[in-house]
């Protein structure tokens, strides 16, 4: 598995600014903006980042 990582090293490009990533690959003009979704609230992932370890963070990450 680590060999795959070593091989991949030469093919990685970054770090791309997140806003550019969204604008380039998931541009608003190409998606169906009429679909309604939740509005983001800062701090909503606090239950995740306050977890004591990785394995207990899976569920809070997706169920805040």
């Amino acid at each position: 598995m680590t060999d795959m990582g070593n091989e991949m090293e030469d093919y990685l490009v970054g770090p791309m600014p997140a806003a550019d990533f969204l604008a380039e690959f998931l541009p608003l003009n190409s998606i169906n903006t009429s679909l309604r979704t939740q509005t983001y609230l800062p701090g909503c992932f606090m239950p995740v980042i306050s977890c004591e370890g990785e394995t207990v963070a899976y569920d809070p990450f997706v169920s805040f």
């Binding site: 990685l12 990533f21 701090g43």
Partner: protein
């Protein structure tokens, strides 16, 4: 029987996706041939898709991997390369980071190899920050760290993915599910068992296109960049016969000829013992994008120049055998003689 935990609360951001905690089981797709375990932490699927829960890379839309220590992050803030101050890197130079890179690369390889996609997205979470990654056959683009508790970019990524049409998600529209009648015809012609899953794919022929039905592919443990050639013994729906379909990402540079054109040249010159190529062509606008970003002001890149690739398919009317499988040495020598005859003519 493993317990499948259906995670529902992220749905407000991406209600068309099911998020499944797959951390306890290995991949169940039956479409990977890796010598190590494929065991993603969370798999996101299109709601209601036919899948083998909880971990099925052949159906996964987005794989999310979790780490809890910064030292496990394969990426870091850019820094000058030791001994080469004109170049910088954003790869963390430690073993655990390289292990994580191998892990997420293997998941991407499994997903791309078992599905028909132009590109895929994955997410790496390192405690309080995340990185979005876009993989294609030229390489992968990685974002800066997104501190997702205060930065909306991660939630926005899922929101937009939920709203995105299939082509933006990387789905190959030239591959579809065959009808029941087509499945029956294919199973009969190719002598396949009832449990073999089939797909229908098109290949351009001049101004039109032909359809072929073949078993679903098995992912091999090769990193995503490259031609990613997959061969299929397939059923030709128009001519009702067995053919060989080659699905590949050809190098898209001006001095590289298309393989179909080479077959055409050889046939025109009446070269002997050349397989008949009945269809070949580029598949739509399926081109890699990673190489276009390698020289952006924010970009650190590897030692190699990234090569553009274009999705391409080719159909041969002759189905070859492996050179390691022949009934007698006489038969093997006959293959060699045919090859030499072709070269001489």
């Amino acid at each position: 029987m493993a317990i499948t935990i259906q995670i529902t609360a992220i749905k407000p951001f991406a209600p068309s996706l099911d998020f499944i905690n797959s951390s306890a089981t290995t991949d169940r797709s039956g479409q990977t041939e890796f010598s190590f375990e494929i065991k993603p932490d969370i798999c996101a699927y299109v709601k209601g898709c036919k899948r083998r829960d909880p971990s099925d890379v052949s159906r996964a839309e987005i794989i999310i991997e979790f780490k809890w220590h910064q030292s496990d992050d394969p990426f870091c803030e850019p820094y000058p390369l030791p001994g080469d101050p004109n170049r910088s890197t954003f790869l963390r130079d430690n073993k655990s980071g390289r292990d994580t890179l191998g892990q997420i690369t293997s998941y991407a390889a499994a997903q791309l190899g078992s599905q028909f996609r132009t590109h895929i997205y994955s997410v790496l979470i390192v405690k309080d920050y995340a990185r979005l990654i876009r993989w294609d056959r030229s390489g992968a683009i990685v974002t800066e760290a997104i501190h997702y508790n205060h930065n909306p970019a991660l939630a926005e990524f899922f929101r937009r993915y939920h709203k995105a049409p299939p082509n933006i998600r990387g789905v190959d529209p030239t591959v579809t599910v065959p009808t029941y009648k087509e499945i029956c015809l294919t199973r009969q012609c190719l002598n396949l068992k009832d449990n073999v899953t089939l797909v229908k794919m098109t290949v351009p022929t001049g101004d039109t296109e032909c359809s072929y039905i073949a078993p679903t592919p098995k992912a091999q443990p090769y990193t995503p960049p490259g031609r990613a050639t997959r061969g299929f013994v397939a059923y030709d729906l128009q001519r009702r016969r067995k053919v060989f379909v080659k699905d590949t990402w050809r190098v898209d540079l001006p001095d590289i000829e298309r393989e179909g054109e080479t077959y055409e040249l050889l046939a025109g010159a009446q070269v002997r013992n050349i397989a008949s190529c009945s269809a070949a062509g580029d598949i739509g606008d399926h081109r890699t994008l990673t190489q276009l970003y390698a020289n952006k002001p924010w970009a650190c890149k590897g030692k190699r120049d990234l090569v553009p690739h274009q999705h391409y398919r080719l159909v041969l009317d002759v189905i070859g055998d492996n050179l390691t499988e022949f009934p007698s040495s006489r038969e093997m020598l006959r293959y060699m003689v045919h090859a030499l005859e072709g070269k001489q003519s």
